[in-house]
């Protein structure tokens, strides 16, 4: 009898243990329900009303409601200095478990082993979206953009599109009888009319390096991307991106020489166009982001080029009606190689850091939360609250986002490369051209050539490549053939 009782107790114990094991498996990957997990998430707050934090709070609360063992620590940071803050955190092994970052920096952090590889999870179903494969939920080109068009979905979870456009004062447009421009010519015409009527046509944030780079992206991508991407001596692997290694190789072997030939002609044309913009951008080199926006919001400037992050702020201003149009396109009249469908846009990404490897349960919870976050129901909340440009398919979105969602090809980073300590860079050259002052072009291009030579040395040191190993271009991912895009036509 005693033996039977002991046997019965043992069987019951085994059953309980087995059932407990089963319930663990059904826990959507958040580990044993009893294990308390705190996930820290860092992000920068670009909006003025803490929209990102508000929406994240709402979504994390919803997640904690169904996974009571998981709590969150939201670490909102100012835009300025976020990158330095993150570097310091990594250096002291105190990185948050989930970090927002720019694609380039996250890519560097992934290569350094600071960000986890979650490729398998991208190919697994998302339990919060009818078990649809996670990677298939993202809009076309967004996962590629998140991985800098280089890798298959591996480490970066895009969560918000970022696009550039021109914001414009609708009241002034109506007053002057102007229409939203589609092309470069139409845009310049609107600027001319605005200036003739006593307005500063463009509030250009010429002090901001990023904004100067936006100009370069816009012009070079629209005018020359088809040309340089189709050049196998430059875009060796034939994808949609010219990598640093490829540019370094092209410069070193003389395929891209800014001092002569087509590259010089193209760059001089670029400078001509910047000078044209400079004529319509009063005091550009003395305006930073805040100054340019203040000028626009004061009704003194008709246009300002900025990003989707300003959409809400500008739209909701009470002084005048603000609209946005996509960056004007280039036609065959502007450039023989002009192309369309190029996106001057990118995505903001989340990455899961090695801090989440503290335990298997924590890692699983971090991935699971990312899946939860990108599920249509939660993501719609995020888009509505944060006024974010969506990256997930099948949402009900506001039409005002249209100006920021053009194209699926990346920007051409050609006239932006520089040596790490170069005196004159493409950015300073653009600033010179914008200023309206006189400058010696030959001297300027000579200085840029020096900067590019230093850039080559930097790439050689950073990537451990050189002429002997053909700058490592054979190892570049995604070998293929570039397909040119059609130019815009009215």
């Amino acid at each position: 009898m005693k033996r039977r009782i002991i046997s019965a107790v043992l069987v019951c114990t085994l059953l309980v243990v087995a059932m407990a094991g089963c319930s663990g498996k059904n826990d959507s990957g958040t580990g044993a329900a009893s294990e308390k997990i705190t996930l820290s998430i860092s992000f920068w707050e670009a909006g003025t009303n803490r929209e990102l934090e508000t929406s994240l709070k709402e979504i994390t609360d919803a997640y904690s409601a169904i996974h009571p063992n998981v709590s969150f620590k939201l670490m909102s940071q100012p835009v300025s200095g976020y990158s330095d803050w993150l570097k310091a955190r990594f250096a002291s092994n105190e990185a948050p478990d989930i970090i927002e970052n720019q694609t380039g920096e996250l890519s560097d952090q992934f290569r350094q082993g600071l960000v986890l590889n979650i490729a398998d999870e991208f190919n697994a179903p998302n339990p919060y979206a009818d078990n649809k494969v996670w990677k298939d939920m993202f809009m076309s080109g967004r996962l590629e953009a998140a991985h800098e068009y280089k890798y298959e979905p591996t480490y970066a979870v895009p969560f918000m599109g970022l696009g550039l456009a021109y914001f414009y004062n609708k009241d002034i447009y109506d007053q002057l009888g102007l229409k939203e421009p589609k092309t470069w010519e139409e845009f310049l015409n609107n600027c001319r009319v605005s200036q003739e009527n006593g307005y500063n046509p463009i509030a250009m944030m010429g002090m901001k390096d990023d904004a100067v780079m936006w100009l370069s992206w816009w012009l070079t991508t629209g005018m020359y991307a088809n040309k340089y991407l189709a050049d196998k001596n430059i875009n060796v692997n034939g994808d949609n991106v010219i990598e640093s290694k490829e540019i370094a190789r092209a410069i070193d072997l003389g395929y891209f020489d800014i001092t002569k030939g087509e590259a010089r002609a193209d760059y001089e044309k670029f400078l001509d166009m910047i000078e044209q913009l400079g004529k319509y951008s009063q005091g550009a080199t003395g305006l930073d982001e805040a100054g340019a926006k203040a000028q626009y919001l004061a009704g003194k400037a008709v246009h300002v080029m900025s990003g989707s992050w300003d959409l809400r702020g500008f739209t909701e201003n009470k002084t005048f009606r603000s609209g946005a149009f996509s960056l004007p396109r280039f036609t065959k009249n502007d450039s023989e190689t002009a192309g369309d469908n190029f996106a001057i846009s990118t995505v903001q990404v989340f990455g899961i850091t090695k801090s989440a490897e503290e335990s298997d349960a924590k890692r699983a919870a971090a991935v699971d939360f990312m899946k939860f976050f990108t599920s249509p129901a939660q993501y719609q909340t995020f888009v509505n609250t944060a006024f974010a440009i969506p990256v997930i398919e099948g949402l009900d979105i506001d039409s005002s986002f249209d100006a920021f969602t053009a194209g699926t090809y990346p920007a051409l980073n050609l006239f932006t490369k520089k040596g790490s300590t170069s005196k004159t860079t493409f950015s300073t050259a653009t600033s010179m051209a914008l200023s309206g002052g006189s400058y010696d072009r030959d001297k300027l291009i000579g200085e840029l050539d020096k900067s590019l030579k230093e850039f080559v040395k930097d790439v050689e040191a950073k990537e451990n490549v050189n002429r002997e190993n053909d700058f490592g271009v054979a190892d570049l991912p995604k070998q293929g053939e570039y397909t040119p895009t059609e130019a815009y036509s009215n």
Binding site: K87, T285, G291
Partner: protein
Amino acid sequence: MGVLQQQVKGNRTLNGRRSLNGEKIFPYLFILPVYIMLFLFVLKPFLFAIFKSFYEYDGIGTNNFIGFQNYVRLFTNDEKFWISLRNLLVFLVGLLVAFPFSVIAAELIFNLKSDRLQGAFRSLIIIPIVVPSVVIYLVWKFIYYPGIGAFANICEMLNVECPNFLGDVHLVKPSLIFMGFPWISGLNFLMSYAALQGIDTSLFEAAKIDGCKTLRRVFTIDIPLIIPQLKALLVLGIIGLMQGYEKMLIVTEGGPQNASLVPGLHMYNVAFKNSPSMFGYACAMAVVLFIITFLLSTLTLKAKKGE
């Protein structure tokens, strides 16, 4: 003699025992935490910077010993560093121009007859010390903005073209120096004023009896007697200028075209703005800056000693 020797021996023993008993060691224990903190937070980072200046170091992964390569690059291949030093020289001239204004203010207030007025003016000058410098820089930036700034509005009223103060390579340095006009620094004022108060009043009375007018007294008595304090302030000012970069970072980010770049900002940029970060190189720059600052300070102090 024997007694004396015994006494000396006894004292030594006594002293030694005191040391052992902690009577002499004990006071040192009180100041030990200060030295530990100084070592940890001042000396150690400094030594670490010297050490890392010989490394290719990005603060996270890369950490290769490269000897003097950072220094060689700094001196032979970094035009920006030399530009930033040249800019610094201009700002140094600006510092020298602005420096006397605090002393003048101290003199003017010191010579006021009414104690109440003295107190009121003193407070008015000292209160702004509590305003963070970032706020002051941002206000000035708004004053300078083209199109919407205060100067732009004045120009518009006068119907003249407004200069691009921060966007013109020729104007940006004078504009940065002009910021904070009339350049009365709270600390400089306070130290000058305290120094003036420290002068023996019998000297003023003697000067008055001899018929010495106020202006003459200022130049023959006041200023010569507070020169040591003024030199100390100047040394502090030079050190602050050599190390500082916040103003340029906030107002111009070193632009346009490096016209307002200073070594501190260049160092910050290579350490934090470059991808990957060049902490090792920035450390080499910091070491060179330290040597320059050390030499300048020593020269100024030696001049002080000579007098």
